[in-house]
């Protein structure tokens, strides 16, 4: 079991309020991603759940039991830190075994669990090495190993992949997702990278300045962003926002169109523009276009689309894919 509930949780450091007041429900077995720009309070929120910081107000419940004042070790949560926080003087075996040793497990039980974890994480050949003799990805796996041997009610990850290179990040992303499928344990995963959020999450919590902007499945957020912030944050490349007369024509202060919802043509369309930069990826072509009347627009075309800097193109937003926002940035 591993459901987590936050009720009116707030956090201030002295004068500075980092998290005003927030409610959140996390179901058992869910993969929840906290996503938001740097400094928005994701780590703080995770540390509140872990018990590494005290809440300034509100309650935290795990499986219905109040744990607001319970020390971290008693919450049965495991955390994987951004810096991995491995114990440098212990071998990989020592690191993974540490939580079991602290729990006073039998030597035989420890050996078995460490062996199992090492097998799952492909660390069997490295058990006697020190952390400094491992690559970044291996260190990451040791940190995960240390978390899984405890059989926690939930895993907390704080930007675990941000120290890895791009290729490894994609691999580890898959490995963590597979681990979640296998263990079916609640996982809370913090990241500032919306691609990680979209690819891994069952449920995304979008945070901005300590407030929850929206909670939902990746596709819900993609299809129906509640406000400008979520609309701009989810999706890559970013949604195009258009103000002024064009928006007025749709009865909105701002309208948003995703780059992939714009049809391009070299002969006819609604908006006329000039190609600024064309990014040819082979599978896709991204065009940065400055248009007359609606400003700079990014558009995506599947496959190859041979235009170059300075060419004239015509854009037409797809019907029904236009997001409308009022003057406060709320979706209409």
């Amino acid at each position: 079991m591993g459901s987590i509930r936050l009720e009116n949780v707030s956090k201030s450091f002295g004068e500075a309020t980092v998290i005003p007041s927030l409610d959140l429900d996390i179901e058992d077995g869910e993969f929840v991603v906290f996503v938001g720009p740097s400094g928005c309070g994701k780590s703080t929120l995770l540390r509140l759940i872990a018990g590494l910081e005290d809440v300034s107000g509100g309650r935290i419940l795990i499986d219905g039991n109040e744990v607001t004042d319970t020390p971290p070790a008693k919450r049965r949560l495991a955390m994987v830190f951004q810096s991995y926080a491995l114990y440098p003087h212990m071998s990989v075996r020592g690191n993974i075994a540490f939580p079991l040793k602290m729990a006073g497990e039998d030597k035989a039980v420890i050996d078995k669990k460490v062996g199992d974890a090492a097998r799952v994480l492909n660390l069997t050949d490295y058990l006697d090495r020190k952390p400094r003799q491992l690559s970044g990805g291996q260190r990451q796996r040791v940190a995960i190993g240390r978390a899984i041997v405890r059989e926690p009610t939930a895993f907390l990850f704080d930007e675990p992949l941000s120290n890895l290179d791009a290729a490894l990040r994609v691999n580890m992303r898959l490995e963590i997702s597979e681990l979640h499928q296998q263990l079916a344990t609640t996982m809370i995963y913090v990241t500032h990278d919306q691609v990680e959020a979209m690819t891994m999450a069952d449920k995304i919590v979008v945070l901005n300045a300590g407030r929850i902007e929206q909670v939902g499945s990746p596709l819900e957020l993609y299809r129906n962003p509640k406000n400008l912030f979520v609309a701009g944050f989810i999706g890559s490349p970013k949604m195009n926002f258009i103000n002024g007369a064009t928006a007025k024509g749709h009865d909105a202060a701002t309208i948003g169109v995703r780059p992939e919802h714009i049809a391009l043509s070299t002969s006819e369309g609604l908006w006329k523009g000039t190609v600024g930069v064309a990014e040819h990826l082979g599978s896709d072509t991204f065009l940065h276009i400055s248009t007359e009347g609606v400003g700079n627009v990014t558009a995506r075309v599947g496959g190859e689309f041979s235009v170059r800097h300075g060419d004239t193109v015509y854009l037409t937003p797809e019907d029904g894919k236009i997001h409308r926002f009022d003057a406060d940035g709320k979706a209409l």
């Binding site: 590494l52 020390p71 114990y87 003087h89 540490f98 939580p99 602290m102």
Partner: protein
């Protein structure tokens, strides 16, 4: 940049300093070595003559030598024990956030700035004096017979004084080491269920190992040659109860004017220091390997 060229020019640039240092070290050592083979007494000038190993035999068979050797090791060991354990505990304490932290940290370093002669005199006259010492006062407060520290426990008393002087050094080094311990590591241990004691044993102490090694090595170098504290308090007595090797060499050279014997003692002290250093490095030096 470590190309062949930069390395050889670096060697060239360093040469004057290295040669200077070598000469600085080698000349006095060579002269001491030379004197140690002479009969050379300041009371009988002009009668110097080659006596081979006589001075060494004389120094080593002196019954005071054995006592001095044991005293030296006891003094070094005792002070190391007190400063490393006390320093670790003080560092742990000072690492906690509390009001007036800056001032307290500054005050803790203070004993290190007091000259050994001064601190020894303060200890001798204000703390350990059997009539007006502070300890005597406390003893009397509890209805006990005051202890004449320097007469009845001379080596222990000197160990206390020296330890008091070196405690700040150990504390300071261990405190900086403690502050360099990664916060996330402590938090990870906390989440893994380590209590205060386990965290200390499994996380903090291994992290401090290198700093403790440095403290032990540096202190040993200085503690083998403790002198001022002995001179101004017990003068090595009663008998030879608080005489260490350094002090023995001093009595030889300046109280008996025997330069040859003192030189032999000095060379023996150097050899002893090297033996101690050898075992020390063997024992704990592996901590210094990164």
């Amino acid at each position: 940049m470590a190309t062949l060229h930069t390395r050889s020019s670096a060697r060239l640039m360093m040469a004057p300093a290295v040669i200077m240092l070598l000469v600085w070290m080698a000349v006095p050592l060579a002269m001491t070595l030379y004197f140690s083979f002479l009969r050379y007494n300041l009371l009988t000038p002009g009668l110097e003559e080659w006596v081979g190993f006589f001075n060494y035999k004389y120094f080593l068979t002196d019954p005071a030598f054995g006592d001095a050797l044991v005293n030296t090791l006891l003094l070094v060991g005792g002070v190391l024990l007190i400063t490393v354990i006390g320093g670790t505990m003080l560092a742990l304490l000072l690492d906690q956030p509390f009001f007036g932290q800056g001032i307290v940290r500054l005050m803790v370093i203070a004993p290190f700035f007091v000259m050994p002669t001064v601190s020894a005199l303060v200890w001798k006259n204000m703390f350990m004096h059997p009539v007006y010492g502070l300890f005597a006062y406390v003893w009397k407060l509890f209805g006990l017979e005051p202890v004449d520290w320097l007469a009845s426990l001379p080596l222990f008393s000197i160990t206390m004084m020296v330890a008091w002087q070196w405690l700040p050094f150990a504390t300071l080094i261990l405190l900086t080491a403690l502050q360099s311990l990664d916060e996330e590591q402590k938090e990870a241990a906390e989440m893994d269920g380590a209590g205060f004691f386990s965290k200390f044993v499994y996380i903090v102490l291994p992290h401090l190992a290198r700093a403790i090694t440095v403290v032990i090595l540096i202190e040993t170098i200085f503690l083998l040659s403790v002198f001022a504290e002995i001179l101004v308090t017990t003068s090595g007595g009663p008998g030879t109860q608080s005489t260490n090797i350094t002090y023995l060499v001093y009595t030889q050279a300046l109280l008996q004017f025997d330069v040859g014997g003192a030189s032999a003692g000095g060379i023996i002290a150097v050899i002893l220091a090297n033996i101690v250093a050898f075992f020390l490095i063997r024992l704990i030096g592996k901590n210094l390997e990164a």
